[in-house]
Amino acid sequence: MSQISPVLWQFLVKWLTNFALFPPEASKIAPQMDALYFFIVLVSLIGLTIVVLLVASFSILYNKERHPNAVQIEGSTLLEATWTIIPLGLFLVMFVWGALIYFRVFTPPANAMNIYVVGKQWMWKAEHEGGQHEINSLHVPTGRAVQLTLISQDVFHSFSVPAFRVKREVIPGRYTTVWFEATVPGTYHLFCSQYCGTSHSQMIGDVVVMSPEDFKKWLASSTSGASLAQDGERLFASLSCAACHNTRQDARGPSLAGVYGSKLTLATGQAVTADDAYLREAILNPSQHITQGYAPIMPTYQGQVSEEGVIALVEYIKHLDSDYRVQQTTTTTDLLPESEGHAAPAGQQTVTQPPTTKGKVNP
């Protein structure tokens, strides 16, 4: 519809928005979804009009005084077919159109910028890759695909941004994702839309859309000093993951360099892709996700790591692109105060280079 007349469309939407009858369109998918929405409104109005006209006109034409003798009519197969096939046809058109939009909303593009969101009773915590943390707000730039990876610390929540027309359930136990590309700078509502207990109505916030320059400035001013991956590295080190996950020949666990996105074969013979969900599961339920060729000795970290911690670890592993990085971490492990007392496995050489704990910030 917006192709038919952009001017009219803008006018309609702006008018409705100004009267608080319609939410603003602030994402690329919003006009597409609205087009389908208005199509269904149109079909509904036509359907309702037909029904009302039929009932009203028959009631007038055939009311008792005007038409005292009813004519018994069995039915009409032709009519039955008509009002079966036409509605079915219309519904199927809507189904296909809607399915296309649905797939679009839940299939993120490859270059999307990733933001992790943890929902818990009764607040939202957003974590940007560069280490910026937000509570009950989300800053995003225009013109860039943003993917949200969501998980709940406790019960079901739902991350809802009406202005973007996106919404996704946030569940405990597994990641869900959704993506959008914001188009209009401004501040928009963020709601939790799955009943989650006492302060469900208060689990709200703001989504702040900024131009790319403003966003860069915001990132620079809000960073906590360490990127998410660096937080993850620290956690990786303090949990002594490197004791098994290192680059030595006789390492008890696979080296994690470049593992993100690769195809693995598990000990059960099953082939999996090592994505976010897999990495999370491998940390929390390792014995079901052992890579082929390794013994099932990895302990579970359930209860020892929060969902934010797991996110940081996953981010770290995502950026682990070379054996050298793994080596750096191993060194970091040795030099960290938390790991004092954990003796390095026999045969490991201590690296004499100074540890580099600053990594690049990738916004």
């Binding site: 005292p68 009813a70 039915g75 009519l79 199927l92 939009i101 299939t107 569940i171 405990p172 339920n285």
Partner: protein, 554 residues
Amino acid sequence: MSSTIVSLPDQSTARIPKDNYLTRENGILSWLLTRDHKRIGILYLISMTFFFFIGGALAGLIRLELLTPQSDLMAADTYNKVFTMHGVIMIFFFLVPSVPGALGNFFLPMMIGAKDLALPKMNLASWYLYMAGGLLALWAMITGGVDTGWTFTTPLSTHYVNTNVITTGLAIFIAGFSSIFTGLNFIVTIHKMRAPGMTWFRMPLFVWANYAASILMVLGTPVLAIAIVLVALERTFGIGVFDPTKGGDPLLFQHLFWFYSHPAVYIMILPGMGVISEVISTFSRKRVFGYTAVAFSSVAIAVFGFFVWAHHMFIMGISNYAVLVFSLLTMLVAVPSAIKIFNWAFTLYKGSITFETPMLYAFGFMGLFTIGGMTGVFLGVSGTDIHLTETYFIVAHFHFVMVGGMLMAFLAGIHFWWPKMTGRMYPEKISQLAAVVTFIGFNLTFFPQFILGTLGMPRRYASYPPEFQILNVFSTAGATILGVGYLLPVLYLVWSLKYGKIAGNNPWQATGLEWQTQSPPLTENFATPPIMDHEAYDYEWLENQKEKEVASVR
């Protein structure tokens, strides 16, 4: 509306028949231990009216809170309990049993020419189970309430609240048995107790509708039962079936819960659709257009209704392909309802139409159910569901179909069959006024909620952004009017018990077998067992009968 088909006996000489099901026996025990399906229907009617007004009061509290953007009328926890109990009571203790319990029990046997249901004692047990469940739910409400939402979403309901979840779950479990027994009874009765000559395609469409609903009751309710049992076990023993830290999956609860709860909505609406068939036919003096299509569409809705449950879960992380399948099936289940609406509309064609109160409610049903049904399409289409789900759009959708649809149909049925049940007519003018007031109040209450939902206002919120206030105020204003619209019938119907005009056998000149006996009916329904020698809705047969009918009543 000066023309009417109402045909009453001469009021100066008419009397209520001395021997009828109400006078056959006396005393409270004769009611509490009755096997008579008609008395059981009356028992259901009284008790469900009671529960309806409690649920309605809770609704009033919700709307009062939502007058202002802040959560200022009651504590957040209290509000959560209020909307939970509103949902539980309205769904399980009013809507599900409404037409089957009150009208189905009363009229199903009569419509097929039987003396009673197949299993009268089970029928009484049904009512007691209903009362036990209802009273237990009220007890749960009084002693602290439940605040999980009527959907009992895990893990909130299993691990994060310490309110009366198990008690309420048990109440619903017990009421579920009531539902199962009623469904069983109806199915057996329809299969085994039809009068001679009463073939399947001569049965009134009301019977077909209840048959389809009974199939759903029998097959769907047990799955809800097991879902509730598992929640109770999870709460008590921490068995872990819904706990991710123990390997369980909270999404499994969603599947089990919605596997029943979607067919449940068809359990609620199908009997109401049956009422509409009867009313439209009677007040246009015509057989229902496309009888076979309407009969089969009831069964189609029942069958398809079992295969669409995950459309309540489109954004919950089920796979995209599952979404495709369920969205497609949802489109299919929408079609039979459309078929019915058009068939009813065309029943009016070349009919002889009058606008008595039941017909007004039926027209209200047709308009409001069309809107409600189409808004269901918005939600069944996966793309738009993303934006609209879990908002006030959903609240508006289901209130349109359940209240604008089902409750209107229920009221249509009550008014239509009131003369038969009580022997008295209700006052026509005030009842027409009540119907119009209800229609206006309903639209004012719930139409703004579609807009609120599109704006993004989530459901189950006690507070909201200030720009949503105007629409909420309209909605609350409408609720007040709606309340008046529902209160009026209680008042004038009770009034009519003593002062209403005597109705006679067949005030509406309707064709069903139930109208060929006295009002109120005998305990055994028919003095001599009827033989069905004509088609359903055969108004020509009725003309012949009138010539033979004796003018005075016993």
